[in-house]
Subunit: 223 residues, 2 copies
């Protein structure tokens, strides 16, 4: 067990180093040599866990999936909002999540399959929407696969715009505005009035999930 614990820790050390190097250099310019030096592990240890640069990148991309869980809510739409808001919060505060999102949008990573995070996110949101639909929370015309794709795609752009304009400082605000624009055409208004869409929702959920104090966001008005 102790040996296994150590292997898990080594794997996390390598992934953290890979995340850092991918974020600084981009996928194309990043090298295993630099990741090795940053991680401070042996070549053997790295290749035991990851066979190639692409495997390292897929490892970083997959890490954001490990951080998706939010507490179950009676209202499934609130679970969707909490999932998106928590992801936005982590994007601002967790280097691993940030590196994963940046990799998935790295246009020079031509030999890396970047569709995985989009498809996985879309699948997660769709299964929430299916549950919400089964509970009668959604408007009758909603096609959950279409709405999931719109939510995932639009969030990817809103986070990029927030990064470029404010280094993520306004991400909670922009995420809240996106949901306020999208959800009234997806969710029954009687349900939506009970949902917390506020800009600090991600920080609230983070504190609830982790028991840690959350960083406050400096909300900026749009340009």
């Amino acid at each position: 067990m102790v040996k296994q614990d150590r292997a898990i820790r080594t794997r996390q050390t390598i992934l953290a180093a890979a995340a850092k190097v991918f974020e600084e250099r981009g996928y194309q310019a990043a090298t295993i040599t630099e990741i090795l030096a940053t991680a401070g592990v042996t070549k053997g240890a790295l290749y035991f866990h990851f066979q190639s640069k692409e495997h390292l990148a897929q490892g970083v991309l997959a890490e954001q999936d490990q951080r998706l869980s939010v507490p179950a809510r009676t209202c499934k739409v609130q679970e969707i909002v909490d999932t998106v808001a928590l992801h936005a919060y982590r994007l601002r505060t967790d280097p691993m999540v940030r590196a994963g999102v940046r990799l998935s949008l790295d246009q020079q990573a031509t030999d890396l399959d970047r569709s995985g995070p989009f498809r996985r996110w879309s699948g997660v949101i769709r299964s929430f929407l299916d549950k919400a639909q089964a509970q009668g929370e959604l408007l009758p015309h909603v096609v959950t696969a279409e709405t999931a794709d719109v939510l995932v795609g639009s969030f990817a752009g809103v986070q990029a715009m927030s990064q470029i304009i404010s280094c993520y400082q306004d991400l909670g605000h922009r995420t809240s505005e996106l949901l306020r624009h999208l959800l009234p055409n997806v969710v029954l208004s009687s349900v939506l009035t009970t949902v917390d869409l506020s800009a600090d929702r991600g920080a609230v959920v983070f504190a609830e999930v982790t028991g840690l104090p959350a960083e406050v966001e400096l909300v900026a008005a749009p340009g």
Copy 2:
């Protein structure tokens, strides 16, 4: 006048070469030497028009603004839809527009101010929304600056997702879905029923603006 024409043509040749090199290499790895070789112009000609790599990139970024005009419509919401749809169409078919959008999302271009396209696009959409509001086309709660930012940010992500998943083949469809999700909470339903939101709207507007035949999109269903 002939001399001026030639200068304009040379400038366009250089910008097209810069667009190609930036798209292939990314901003950071692109060099003026490669842009020179691709353009087939003299160093003197290039530096006459652009003093640095950053000036070349800003030139490429600005080119998409030159292609924003759509025919005036009685319904200003239709003008917004047409602007977004035409941009989506050009993104799929015009290398200069694609290079500009990719540059604006190039995360390794750390020393390039990439906020310009987002701010300019948001300003264009906001001014359309202000006109639509003055004409009574919008719902009473709409704050045009917020809605413009949501539209621009979300479109940036939807196009990235379309590029990654289908090489832009489903962009018209995804753009239409995004607008179908966003606009019912922005536009009066009596106005929205008169607006053409179909997936081939961009191709229709392109043909109208240029008099050229438009490429048909292969519409793909979401994952």
